[in-house]
């Protein structure tokens, strides 16, 4: 694949810094992830060498980072090799209580003359409100990760914390159910090895949330469920790609994010595009009343029907249907 940095000057003559000549092409890329501690994404412009990304609130510079992340998926997408990814940290000790001015993230050219506002890829209209939400004092600086099911598949697990804060709570969100607050105070020595406090884990046994069975689940920093914890595939479960499903609830995170995501800061670097993850984990032991069994059987039948319909859609789209375990009752929802 040709390198963009070496081809750019050959393909496009350098524009004068004060040139009023309109650009021939639009910016490509945008914001893929917004959390209270990180804004991440990628940006590329065929006519302009972009070098930095800045997070502004009104005229004030809150954070800046170079466009230096190599993203094989982006290179594949645009046809040039180069470093187009960025990660903008949002510091936890940011001292402003209220921010009246509108926030924005912009990509900036090498000479600082060209500035391109970046939008949230999965919902451009929500960009400003999401950035605002990430800067709220009660959330600012929170970092975490939703691991999905734990090793034996008996609980939903992950971790979250904020520098300088003793107690952290995240929210588990299941479709059509009220969010469930989870304290992040579980000791997990593995977290210390990757630079996080050892006692910031969380785990919710599936048996303690029976009403969520069969529903998609995600974890969020905020009660409203807009700022989701980054979520990766659980490797040993071999979650398949499930195409063609439209979520019934708003999905604040770009689905393609996972495939573009960098590995730092607890984000995944998974290969294939993921959307919804279905559990192949052992199922919890539930109350063995007849009515409950009938209830689960009805749900199972309905799920089989849905799987059948999905397979048909996949066939129509000439997509190889993924291998799936039919007994799964929990889904991880992005």
């Amino acid at each position: 694949m040709p390198k963009w940095s070496s081809l750019r000057r050959l393909l496009r003559p350098e524009r004068a810094p004060t040139s009023q000549q309109p650009l021939l092409h639009p910016l490509r890329g945008g914001i893929e992830l917004v959390t209270p501690s990180l804004v991440a994404g990628w940006a590329f412009h065929p006519d302009v060498l972009l070098t930095d990304v800045k997070f502004l609130v009104g005229p004030h510079l809150i954070s800046q980072a170079p466009l230096n992340g190599h993203r094989a998926d982006v290179a594949e997408n645009i046809g040039f090799d180069g470093c187009f990814g960025f990660q903008l940290p949002i510091p936890a000790d940011f001292p402003l209580l209220f921010l009246d001015a509108p926030p924005q993230v912009i990509a900036v050219s090498e000479d600082g003359q060209e500035r391109f506002p970046l939008q949230f890829l999965s919902d451009p209209h929500a960009t400003a409100s999401l950035l605002n939400q990430a800067l709220q004092p009660d959330l600012r600086g929170l970092q975490g990760h939703f691991d999905g099911f734990n090793a034996d598949g008996s609980a939903l697990s992950g971790w979250a914390w904020r520098p300088g804060s003793l107690n952290t709570t995240i929210w588990l969100q299941a479709e059509d159910l009220p969010p469930r607050a989870i304290a992040c105070n579980l000791t997990r020595p593995d977290l210390e090895l990757i630079g996080h406090p050892a006692d910031c884990g969380f785990a919710l046994p599936l048996s303690e949330w029976p009403e969520a069975m069969g529903r998609r689940v995600k974890a969020s920093f905020d009660q409203e469920g807009r700022l989701c914890l980054p979520q990766s595939q659980v490797p040993e479960m071999g979650f398949p790609e499930i195409s063609g499903i439209i979520p019934t609830a708003p999905v604040p995170m770009e689905v393609e994010w996972i495939s573009f995501s960098p590995v730092e800061n607890g984000l995944s670097r998974s290969g294939p595009k993921e959307s919804y993850l279905e559990s192949t984990a052992p199922q919890p032991k539930l109350a063995s009343t007849t009515s409950l069994d009938e209830h689960w059987q009805a749900l199972e039948d309905f799920k089989l029907l849905m799987d059948h319909l999905e397979a048909k859609v996949d066939d129509l789209e000439r997509i190889q249907p993924p291998l799936r375990r039919r007994s799964a009752r929990f889904r991880l929802w992005r």
Partner: protein
Amino acid sequence: MALDLTGMPLVDRPDFEDLLAKGQFGPWSLEAERMHRDGFCVIDMGSPEMDRLCGSIIDQLSLRLAPEIAQWCQQQAGPPRLQDGWKDIPEIKTLALLPAVADLLKHLYGRVAFAFQSLNFVVGSQQSTHSDAVHFHSYPNGFMCGVWIALEDVSDDSGPLAYYPGSHRSPYLSARHLGLSPDQLRNEEHPQLLFEPAWQQQIAHDGLHQETFLPRRGQVLIWHANLLHGGLPVTNPLATRWSQVVHYYFDQCLYTTPMFSFAADQGGDDLRNPYRIENGRRRYTTEEWQAMGLTAPGAFRQASRPVERLRHA
């Protein structure tokens, strides 16, 4: 006025050695190295004009602080001092705005500095060991520093300035970091006492060693916001230690009082709108403050000043 809430002082940057090799610090490379390594540097500003300024300040303050000096000599009061004498003594203002110091700070920090507070001491302050960064600090962190000017030769029985080289690398502290509540601060007459165990622990943990500053008139010590320092006990009550301390902030920052900065649900950070000695006005006008979307500064009203040894001994 646009804020730049990113980055850190050049002397604190992890790529300091590269910056040094590239000549980033211009004529102040030696001072930059010392500041980076030890948390302070010393320059000699001795000159006839400096002698005249120092003499004039001493003469004026001898009259103005005569009652306090008499009380001190009779051990009836703590060390006399004058805060913000720049407002009505032109020589203090001149010393607070030395062009060489401003140039040095711009090179070492990478931003334009402005003096916001002056303190004039007659004798040794006897302040217990502390970091200024608890009393006034900035966001981004580190854009504050102190400048200590000897108005006369300092003797070792006058309670000279003492400091711990390398202590500037310790973590910055605030009420939030120590888990202190607003009530705890309100109930403590000298809130700095709540921070002192952490500093002493840091000194012991890092094996830091104390050094003493015995300058000649006109010598200037510039110290890092987080350098642990204080005043040694005065062993000769008749010995003076005329000196002037000037505190500097840097442009495009937010300014805070970490001693009174709490978690968001306890009131958040205590923002300051410091003076700019150069023009005698607050750093931000009311209009600028409102345009920045900031809350009112100084939400937590309580004096923040280093504790003198005698007061809690």
